[in-house]
């Protein structure tokens, strides 16, 4: 980080502009998820929403180093990854509401949010399932001689599933351009990571397989940004896969309606005190950015997501015929008789 304030009156240095973009993204993720959780709690949005509030620095810090042609695979907690990769927030909100025009046409919902147009290959309802998919995407891109990397997000719970071992071994074996990102928010559903994971965790497991790993405080945006920059640069240079182990804390319950009574209030308060958004805002203020500019960014993000929610409420329902579309062309299903 460059500690010197910008010259008075001049344009902000590039680094400040970049970090402002990161902050804006984190604010948008948080605002989106606040609306999403509220929509689930009120019953306006059907089904389940998993929020990544408190984890925004990881999605933003990684994806800001990705290019449009790079790909991302995600998890059930995937709104942040989608927004960070550039997904259309309006279409995402419509999807959560099960409305026409939703990102997946109402077929996916929160847990399967995706925007292939920006390389976001989908949130996934099965823990760890994105890992082999990410490996194959990288392998396919190489076969097509496309110079791109794949960022593969998963939670700490995924490291206890077979696909983690299979995928890391695979990526190392074929030296694939994959950044594995373990978002270790301390919980897998209602169980603490430490109660379910033996040994030294994701980074140590990766190293044992031959995938170099870095561990960072995932609530420190500058640390995530710096680590992601280094790892992705190495991957682009052809060094093979890397793993980023980002420790963080899940502010909300597992789902939007989980009161998370299994953890003490002081623990949650301590985590909230390490708010990644506030930390980045403070770093920017130290670089000479006006607090008012940051407040304006926050208000803008909140207004944007409120507007998306309003639009979702007002949007038409999908045509029921869509329930039978996109299954398969060969042997397509016959719609239910009227």
């Amino acid at each position: 980080m460059d500690p010197s304030p910008p010259p008075a009156g001049g344009p902000p240095p590039n680094e400040t502009v970049r970090l402002l973009a990161m902050l804006r993204l984190m604010l948008r993720i948080r605002a989106f998820e606040r609306e999403a959780v509220a929509a689930m709690r009120s019953g306006e949005a059907p089904g389940v929403v998993h929020a990544s509030i408190g984890q925004e620095a990881i999605a933003a810090g990684v994806c800001l180093h990705l290019r449009r042609e790079d790909r991302v695979t995600s998890t059930h907690r995937g709104h942040g990854h989608a927004l960070a990769k550039g997904a259309d927030a309006r279409a995402m909100m419509l999807e959560l509401y099960g409305r026409a025009g939703g990102a997946c046409g109402g077929k996916g919902g929160s847990m399967h949010i995706a925007d292939f147009a920006v390389g976001m290959l989908g949130a996934n309802g099965v823990v760890g399932a994105g890992i082999p998919i990410a490996c194959g995407a990288a392998q396919g891109l190489r076969l097509l001689r496309q110079d791109a990397v794949v960022a593969c997000f998963f939670g700490d719970g995924a490291v206890n599933r077979g696909p983690f071992l299979e995928g890391l071994n695979w990526a190392a074996l074929y030296r694939l351009p994959v950044l594995f990102v373990c978002e270790d928010n301390g919980f897998a559903a209602f169980t603490r990571t430490a109660e379910s994971t033996a040994g030294a965790g994701a980074a140590a497991r990766a190293e044992a397989i031959g995938v170099p790993a870095l561990a960072v405080d995932g609530t420190d945006p500058l640390a995530v940004d710096a680590a992601a920059a280094d790892l992705i640069a190495a991957i682009r240079a052809g060094a093979g896969p890397r793993l980023l182990h980002a420790r963080c804390y899940r502010w909300e319950g597992h789902t939007g309606t989980d009161p998370a009574a299994y953890r003490p209030a002081e623990e949650v308060a301590a985590a909230r005190a390490r708010d990644p958004i506030r930390r980045l805002a403070e770093a920017l203020i130290a670089r000479g950015v006006a607090a008012a500019e940051i407040a304006a960014l926050e208000a803008e993000a909140e207004a944007e997501m409120r507007a998306h929610r309003e639009a979702a409420r007002a949007a038409p329902l999908p045509d029921p015929a869509a329930a039978f579309a996109d299954v398969q062309d060969t042997g397509a299903p016959a719609p239910c008789p009227a």
Partner: protein, 321 residues
């Protein structure tokens, strides 16, 4: 037309498809050594290790990586070595590959092939002999084919590679060395189009995959005028051909190597009954395996095997009914 084994017919078909389309590639265990049945023999020499990929024993990753590679625009042929091992990759097949297009509202497609060599072969016992085609047919999103001739082994593989939907090929281990005439220039097979393997008037016998030659032999020796229909693909399947034949013979037998209970034969009988009405058939039967795992010893395995004698007896019984 050359006489080729199933293995050689599919090997040549895959090579032809790989020459035609540079995005086609194959991944699986020991492919660089020809695959365990020789169906990939020599391909790594022609196409290199980047397109004939020998993988670790990681079925979930083989299947899942195939999907990832399809989502970025390649056409992978995913080799499961033995169908039973695909059970280690069921999430990747059933909840990822089969769902990806639908769940994401048509944003991406899993244009890929999954090859599953299955069934009884050389006393492989309970974990290397299963016929699980009914599981596959049950999953929306999948196309399922089961060749019973060397020609179809090649033509269905070509069709599968060119198909934009995910196709599961249930190849029969017991048929790899069986030979048949193969027109290598034949167009890809059409899914959902059955083959009338033998015309007949008294009984309709429907089958697929390893039991095709068994049923053909059985029909020959049964002394009954039996019409043998080789379904070739199970989803979609040629309901029209089966219904037309059964409407004529009014006797329907379905033969498969898989366990009879909840096997695909049940679906065939149910649909024909729905289409023709409950009273249309004079006799109906299913011949498959009892609901038991496949045992090891030849004497025990034979007790489960749908042999030509058993099938012929079933045909005669039905003809009398």
């Amino acid at each position: 037309m050359p006489r080729l084994s199933f293995a050689e017919a599919t090997r040549r078909a895959l090579a032809a498809e790989m020459r035609r389309d540079p995005t086609v590639w194959a991944l699986g265990e020991d492919l660089g050594r020809g695959g365990i049945f020789g169906q990939y023999k020599g391909l790594v020499e022609e196409f290199g290790p980047e397109r004939i990929v020998s993988t670790p024993i990681s079925e979930a990753c083989i299947m899942g990586a195939g999907l990832g590679a399809a989502l970025v625009g390649t056409r992978p042929v995913i080799e499961m070595r033995i169908a039973d091992f695909a059970l280690c990759a069921m999430d990747e097949l059933v909840s990822q590959i089969a769902k990806v297009r639908y769940m994401f509202g048509g944003q991406g497609r899993a244009s890929l092939v999954v090859r599953m060599p299955g069934g009884m072969w050389r006393n492989s016992a309970a974990q290397h002999s299963q016929c699980l085609e009914a599981w596959m047919v049950h999953i929306p999103g999948l196309v399922v084919a089961a060749p019973g001739t060397a020609q179809d082994a090649a033509s269905l593989l070509k069709a599968a590679i060119r198909c934009d939907d995910p196709v599961v090929l249930m190849e029969s281990k017991n048929l790899w060395t069986a030979e048949g005439e193969v027109d290598e220039d034949a167009p890809p097979a059409e899914f959902g189009r059955a083959r009338i393997a033998r015309a007949g008037e008294e009984v309709t016998v429907v089958t697929w995959a390893a039991t095709v030659p068994v049923v053909e032999a059985a029909a020959e020796r049964s002394g009954v005028s039996a019409e043998v229909i080789d379904l070739r693909s199970l989803w979609p399947w040629d309901e029209a051909a089966v219904v037309a034949s059964a409407a004529r013979t009014r006797r329907l037998l379905v033969v498969h190597e898989a366990v009879t209970v909840a096997g695909f034969g049940a679906e065939v009988v149910a649909r024909v009954t729905e289409r023709l009405g409950p009273g249309a058939l004079r006799a109906v039967g299913r011949l498959g395996a009892p609901r038991a795992p496949v045992p090891f010893a030849p004497a025990l395995e034979d007790a489960l095997r749908p042999t030509a004698e058993r099938v012929a007896e079933a045909i005669r019984r039905l003809a009398r009914g």
